[in-house]
Point group: D2
Chain length 316, copies 4
């Protein structure tokens, strides 16, 4: 509430992309949580299941990333997960890639304030500030992105994954962006709904005739699952990234053997997939009945740093 | 809880697709709710805003449909919304279209039971029953769909919309399916994440080389927004359909003038788009600050029949 | 959002207490919902379970009422439930009784607007407007209540129930208030946390030495359960009213045979009682494993009118 | 899910009551979160606001504790908050005190499993295991409590607070229970709904004629607020403890100057008090418009250890 007075719209401070160190203190907190109940226990299990995925040499690690993670300061954390080899396949939203690109090009998201007030949001609009709950994205981010995309020669008929790698290749070497590290390590990165994003719209405006082959990505993702003896899935949020991986799991010889989902969507009785229990996925053959699973009802901005600090410490 | 004993997995009764009649009783209940508070008032406002959208001859009516609506019995209701001219543009998920196609081909979803229990979901898997909360989808639905898709000659390089119209054209004349009525009336139907669905997977398996032009749909949807003097948006759930329409609204001369969202996703503080307040969209220029809006936190299986009964009565 | 412009704080229209008629249209909608899934089915089951409770002559009907129901317009509906004999024991919150008393004394709650904004809530405070989400309660309601309470001679050492009956006895004959009809019909009405309410505070200020016997109510409620062959429980919301009845059910020969809960609290993984599944209560011996239960995730301002219209029609 | 196979009902391991150390790693994680968004930022603000409350010598620190905190392993953490002087007034539920007493008497809660399954909960009932989500409470806990309460001579006409202090006085010196430390330090502890709990029921069964003076506690709590220049409120969960403190804040010269709420209840549109925004409380005069507030949507089993580790480190 207070921050409404503290910040003027125009002088909001940037969101700082968080860095996470290995931590023995976090490990012992997680170990305590593992002997308790409720979401503390579920978070502890999430840490231990992810550790098991990494220690299992047969495990292909799928990572589903939805939600506005980069605007909230999770870019470097995602970079580390990928850079450290904790991610073999990434499925994400066009929104996260748009925000990732913005930060990679030197722009910033801002620490704003919440509001549920027409007037206040109309003021933000007049100031070209796009609000994501309590984070602002200045609209000129799009202009810089447009200039950069215009400057590139791109094959506009390749698969979405190849396009994303191509964009990553063009980013500065030292960038700690998701696109960059996926391109560098040639980690398959799928974005089934890229046309549902600022990045997708800009590609279609700037490079007339853009027609990325979405079905090539689909085939590829299913083939990867087909070859995975012991797949593991780590899900942030839900939506398309969760289902795109789960549908592929139906084609994996053993279906998912490890599954963690970190989500704040707890409404199960309306039948939505994002909130569906991991047990439900067993009926579909997406998750193995003998698998290790944990669904944690927790904001990922809190869960991911804890999980990363735990993994960095245990896998030193 | 009780139903767990009542139904054996194998003999579950089919979900009946609900029919809705005009109702004066519903209209007067809605009129009472409009003078109260909380979600009762929001539901009343939703009814009246949709009525205003239909009465406004300049309004282009966008409808976003996510969630497992057809499995829960909403197919005929969606058919009526479209058939009665309450929908000018439909954006939906591959899942809803997969379920719609199954019912259109004579298959049925079943009234099942909930469970959060590995054993019980493993039993369902052994019986080839896919669970969607308390609804079951027998796995053989996919076999019938496969046979039907194999029997069709399809242009595998057109836009997603054109492919969906082509499928609708092949369905029986008397079918009360979403695909059929959209095809019949040539209502633009967009499905940005079709590769994230059973229908998308089957197309890619059966018709090798399928490469639908997703960017053509994007361009088209934006052009439609561009030409809409007075756009209105009705959203069921959230996810890709909500954002795909909202991103187009940024290119409409006035942005959205009417907006209703029916959703059970109430967690706003994690920054997700599905639950974001409609006020937040004003900052983005997606919604007009002078617009009429109502966000209703309600299961759509209850909201849609009430809204349709209201509209049928008022617009007789 | 719009209403923020429409209403000035000072000239908000009163919330109208809703009247509900029997309705064949509602009955047929409920019958359709009973063959579907998700919360539509749960709401249908809730209607049919309540009907069964009323038709079962051995059933003692417990009603738990929490939430700000009277401010939102549910006062006459609650009056009807009690007047029609659908309630044998009522457990509620001090807040609902405070609001009930205000309306009974001729004051009104107002149709306000939502806000999540320090400034706007500070303005309301300056205007002596207390906000309950989108409903306002003018602060002078307390002054009228104080004058009335001062005018009464009250036994300040009796049980809470007896005090509430005494207050009801003093209200105008034609009042459609919860307190009035409970007093008239001598329906046991328990309010375990009355000191947590405006009514409780006023009693303690005005009638020095007030010391209501809470344990007498507890004993009485348990004895009633002890004598109930076939108890049924209908819960609006959760909190103290839900648990106060459930703890008594443990002392009933068969525990609860019928249970319906209408709540919007869906977060189960933090272990809260309000959201706990009805199945969980079986482990405690509060609910009978062979009982009929339905937990509906729905705003009570929508559920209660539908359930009452259904019951009035079926039990004509 | 897996745990359903792992544990037999009978051989569940006890929940371990968590110990928390000061931690520089937690402090730096919290400092990073303070420059981000969403609930990470809110949690950081919660830590800093609580620190400010402790550093402000004029601040009277009210602590509202609801939810099943002791069963989930939060007993020692609550003990530390009180023992370290971070709590001046405690308001809690009878349930937490019942569980606190059980652990203080040497009994334990058990690490169980979730289930939404009549059969499985019926089995638990046969084994006298009461389920609280994924925690079990063996029913014999009540027997030991009964024996202990029978052995005590108690004044059954005093206030609830005095009764709770009397119980605390009887507990072993070395016990790390909430009741013990409140009694030892004579911290006012209020439990407005004690008759809504196992402890309340046992008192009424064992000590016939028990009639605790609830209104004395109410008066006392309001007088404490009256004398508080600079009150601060820390809320875990919501319900009666939240409102009992907030209603007293209306009588404090400045109303609450610091407020933190940690809750998983995010449904605001049904008007419930537990989930109500802290801004709403400004309209009531419960919270000061110039106050520092943070509402964190997070499971308290994760939030409390982090906040305590932060405070222990900063206030060394």
């Amino acid at each position: 509430m207070k921050e409404i007075d503290e910040h003027s719209h125009k002088h909001a401070r940037p969101v700082e992309q968080m860095d996470v160190e290995p931590s023995e203190a976090i490990v012992s907190m997680v170990d305590s949580w593992d002997n308790m109940g409720f979401n503390a226990k579920r978070l502890a299990r999430a840490c231990k299941i992810y550790e098991a995925m990494i220690r299992d040499s047969d495990c292909v690690k799928y990572f589903a990333l939805s939600g506005a993670m980069v605007p909230a300061g999770m870019q470097k954390i995602m970079y580390d997960f990928i850079d450290l080899g904790f991610v073999d396949v990434l499925v994400t939203t066009g929104a996260n890639l748009t925000h990732d690109l913005a930060e990679a090009l030197g722009d910033h998201h801002l620490q704003g304030f919440i509001s549920d007030n027409t007037k206040s949001d109309a003021d933000l609009h007049d100031e070209s500030m796009n609000r994501i709950y309590d984070v602002f994205m200045p609209n000129n981010i799009y202009e810089n992105m447009e200039d950069w995309l215009k400057s590139l020669k791109l094959d506009i008929k390749q698969s979405v994954k190849e396009m994303l790698w191509a964009l990553g290749d063009e980013l500065p070497e030292d960038s700690r962006s998701i696109l960059k590290i996926c391109a560098k390590k040639r980690i398959p990165i799928y974005c089934p709904a890229i046309t549902d994003s600022g990045l997708g719209m800009q590609l279609s405006f700037i490079h007339t005739g853009t027609n990325l082959n979405h079905f090539e990505d689909l085939q590829e993702c299913i083939n990867l699952a087909w070859d995975s003896k012991s797949p593991g899935v780590f899900i942030v949020g839900g939506g398309v990234p969760k289902n795109f991986i789960f549908q592929a799991m139906q084609f994996s010889p053993n279906s998912a053997k490890y599954v963690v989902q970190v989500t704040t969507d707890v409404q199960v009785s309306a039948g939505g997939l994002s909130s569906a229990s991991l047990s439900e996925a067993i009926s579909w053959g997406k998750v193995n009945a003998a698998g290790e699973t944990s669904q944690v009802h927790l904001d990922a901005t809190i869960a991911l740093p804890i999980i990363l600090a735990y993994l960095k410490q245990k896998l030193k």
